[in-house]
Symmetry: C2
Subunit: 336 residues, 2 copies
């Protein structure tokens, strides 16, 4: 069986060869229904343009580079699923690189991608120096996903709405009857947005003077240490909202060591709905950041930039939801 050709795709989609070519290059004005028909035919036939030949003639590799800030923390996995699903439908492959490994060895973060001639770049999470993206964005489309630092000019940004998520977590605890509520904070733009929203929500419920904020570093160990300080206070909180799931796991450990039962003596909520929060052994109430939607929208922005290069950066914030699991319950003394 011979592999399908561009002619087979055109026949199946009921369009001309040159229109197929336009769609595959992602350039030109193509009506959405025509583009969908072409992409469907590509998928159904399993059409694979010869990449080398195509790359020479079109200056396109049909590959998107994905730069992850740190592979060790797999919060980004569902985001990649969403990203991949739409990119693949557009005939694009994803290749990944780990910014932490590149930093450790002193390499340029985006070097390998640029050398290989990727068509676009998706940055997942916060980079130590986001300004490097500005220069890259002058050469090819760049989208940032899952970070809240202001993006350089011409770079799109997609992330979860941290203010809405922190409000959900805080209001859940307030509705359960908690009043002395602590927040274990984090760093960076995400840490600041979540902390501010916690404080604003407590204020809005007349609980400004019952709100405690303890700094943290977004690690399990940091969450543990912050919790030991908080739970040793004479006016110890009955609930803790930690900036992320992994810090929450540190809170659970501290509570266990101090003989406090969760959720009987202490309610705990996290943020991110990572695989750790879903472990039966942890079963953490947490905020789901709609990562699949974030990834999908990031892919959409990137595909849009292929069709219409240039233009100002856009921002999309996905709406989070609360996942109520086993670590939150009403306090023993309501209103305490």
């Amino acid at each position: 069986m011979r592999p399908p050709t561009i002619r087979d795709v055109a026949d199946r989609a009921g369009v001309s060869k040159s229109l197929v070519s336009l769609v595959l290059r992602g350039t030109g004005q193509v009506r959405p229904e025509k583009r969908e028909a072409v992409l469907r035919a590509v998928r159904e036939l399993g059409y694979r343009p010869n990449a080398a030949a195509r790359s020479l003639s079109e200056q396109r590799s049909r590959t998107v580079g994905v730069l992850l800030n740190d592979l060790r923390n797999p919060w980004f996995v569902d985001l990649l699923d969403g990203l991949n699903s739409l990119l693949h439908a557009g005939g694009l492959h994803m290749l990944l690189a780990d910014a932490r490994l590149s930093r450790r060895t002193g390499g340029r973060l985006t070097g390998p991608f640029l050398d290989l001639g990727v068509d676009g770049l998706v940055v997942v999470g916060t980079l130590p120096d986001p300004t490097v993206l500005g220069a890259v964005a002058e050469r090819l489309p760049v989208v940032v996903a899952g970070a809240r630092e202001p993006a350089p000019a011409g770079v799109d940004l997609v992330a979860g709405d941290d203010e809405a998520g922190a409000r959900l977590a805080t209001e859940h605890l307030i509705r359960l009857g908690h009043r002395r509520i602590a927040h274990i904070a984090g760093h960076g733009a995400v840490g600041e947005l979540r902390r501010r929203s916690f404080e604003a929500t407590m204020r809005a419920h007349g609980l400004a003077d019952r709100a405690l904020v303890e700094p943290g570093d977004m690690t399990e160990e940091g969450g543990y240490r912050s919790a030991v300080r908080l739970l040793g206070r004479p006016d110890r909180p009955t609930a803790v909202f930690a900036v992320n799931d992994i810090a929450s796991v540190g809170v659970l450990s501290a509570a266990g060591e101090l003989g406090l039962r969760v959720p009987g003596d202490l309610s705990v909520t996290g943020y991110d709905n990572t695989s750790i929060a879903r472990l039966r052994h942890v079963w953490l109430t947490t905020v789901d950041t709609a990562p699949h939607e974030v990834g999908h929208r990031a892919a959409r922005f990137l595909l849009d930039r292929f069709e219409r290069p240039g233009g100002a950066g856009r921002v999309h914030l996905a709406t989070p939801t609360l996942k109520i699991r086993g670590t939150t319950a009403p306090p023993r003394e309501p209103g305490g």
Copy 2:
């Protein structure tokens, strides 16, 4: 400041330009000390050959593709560290792809790497169909890391020694005084090697009739269900050795629900020394598989294949060590 040239590298290393070129291409007979001098000069000067020009003239991209079997389970992170450290010293970049995502979207697993012209391929973990690697290995160097299925001809394999690791875990429990010991098994070559070694170790200590084996699926939920069955037996075991860390976490949950304290009433050991085992909230006794060494050796094999293409596949098994943490202790009734 102009970027360094190949002439600068040659001057600094005290060799000829053509020798630098030989080293960078990874071809030809170059004495180890000369190669080291060149690579040191490359690193110190931050020399970056122009990839496009070089690729055209040398047919090399200086990029290695790394195919991960499933990004969701981050057991491979330390392995990538080891891999990256040596590849980077050789002037090579790593790009990653997730085989699970490619499978889901029906893509060819190795397609994007081959299209972009990577110089070699490292497969991390077990692929659903390892035979696909045989065909790839005819075109470029391939090394498998962290899997134990027999590799196709001409493919090197580096992994932890599962028999030694399972023996370490089992003998640790025996030495603590446990006699009724259960193993929650897994699938694939790794699962079979660990189970067989558990059984052989129990036999060697005259405990063949006290050994229990319960099938599992290497997930937390599977570990939980296996543990519920095991712990509901009238002759319930006093210790469980699970095939991996995540299944062990399921055992911890089952013990908690049944009112058994770990390690007082039940000892638990895992395998892999993942980040989950190191959480203070889990603090699991487990087997460390020397992943950094596995990655480093995989890079060594790949670099060797660049210098001397072809040849039979080699196998290297790294020696595991035991990490004794909080989930193992002597049984309440010794010899019980």
